[in-house]
Symmetry: C2
Amino acid sequence: IRVHASMNSPPPPVAEFPYLPPAQRDLMVEVLSIVETGLGPQLLPSTVPSDVLSYQNPSGSAHGALDIRYGGRDSTVDFILESWLHCQIPTGALNIATLFVSLNSSTDAPHLLMEFIQGSPTSLVLLLDLIPRKDVVLHPDYLDEFYHQTDLDKQRQVLAKLPQVQPYMSPSLYVRSILSPTAIVVNINCGDGEQTMLEEIIRGKLNMICKEIVQIWLRLCVKTKLLSEVDQDILVKRDSLIKSKAIEIDLEVNLPRMFTPEIASRVVREIKEAYKVQDSGKKFV
Amino acid sequence: IRVHASMNSPPPPVAEFPYLPPAQRDLMVEVLSIVETGLGPQLLPSTVPSDVLSYQNPSGSAHGALDIRYGGRDSTVDFILESWLHCQIPTGALNIATLFVSLNSSTDAPHLLMEFIQGSPTSLVLLLDLIPRKDVVLHPDYLDEFYHQTDLDKQRQVLAKLPQVQPYMSPSLYVRSILSPTAIVVNINCGDGEQTMLEEIIRGKLNMICKEIVQIWLRLCVKTKLLSEVDQDILVKRDSLIKSKAIEIDLEVNLPRMFTPEIASRVVREIKEAYKVQDSGKKFV
């Protein structure tokens, strides 16, 4: 599956996920296609430089790809971010594939996050959530509109019933806090030698659930809503905190280790620009 | 253990939990004793009428007890609520025991909630949490002060490692939302015939963890904090929503079924007074 492992081959389009096992790759490609078809006319062309669209560490043991496209005028989309990371680890290979669609402040509809984290051929951590833009405790009507009425928990329950599926706890308390009460945060663990079982789950139940949730989100994300100035200020501040914390907790810790500080700085700079988080120019050195 | 089952015996003090299995009763009594010793001088005498301090349904198949004591002047405690419910169900008996300490707006320290829900002799659902007063996504410093620095997640992890312990999901999305990211929300399920195993866990790890968490909370809850008027308004509104939703989702649904609408109205009226939620005078009929 390492179809682009040579340093001299042209960089792969981000959305090809060359290192993902086939079942996951097919699912990610299918979900991206649904999202891009749904949002298509709203998205501007990518402006990510080629050395961030595809990058690797000097020894060639870690590869990454990142694409970001902004939403056009009159779109509710702020940006869509697609990314994958691949690196050799003592137990085999680590693969992370991410889709994050961030909405702007013309709507309070949730952001979309879908992430695969795979550290072994027979297990897969999945994060799939519509990330709330408001404190749902203070805004029960928000919980009702986006989570109750859409029956999102039904999808989570279908997956949770499988004996191979265990809840997954992010080690970060902040990451746990940003997720909705219907978030799918699971470890699908099929045990030694059960690679076929994992593939079956991904091509079966998981495929159905992911597509259903993405379709629900696509219907929600297009509705603009005129917020009061105060509400909009809080929403923007909250969105911004989620993004800067994600960079601080995850990317600034892990990317320099995987790709050298120089390469990590280049990648993080692009993400910070999209996230509207000030780049300190810190080079992780 | 049904030491007060006769209709003619005097009503038991709330904190004796006469229907709880011994291991749970001992733990609840011990935790209450720690909390009451810690808060002691701050608590006013109970004003709950005797027909709410102890109540039962006409057939005598369901029993309940409720006590509420308010915090005195200069206390950070709004009120302490202690309650138990017991009723016969087709599979045996259902027991619910609750401790809820609500703080007032002289502090933003978390409320304390501890609840046992037991529907079979070999399994126990436990909720134990320091309930956040603020949106921790918008206030990462709050998360840091009350949850990171106190290392609360360590306690949760100790329990989660036991093979008999599974995460528990409240069917209510709102209840899921009010809990902190370090909340202990688990089903301890020891399987058929393993009543002794459940008792061992309660008297061992669970006893240690519950007492540790309550001690952490006692240190946090006494610190007053001068909040800005805006922050205080939001905190009061958020607290009030949590309480009115709890009544709406849980008590107003379940108590009338268990105790007849008349008795339920009487009990809910006392709770609404403490929660400062307006009583509509609704008699569930």
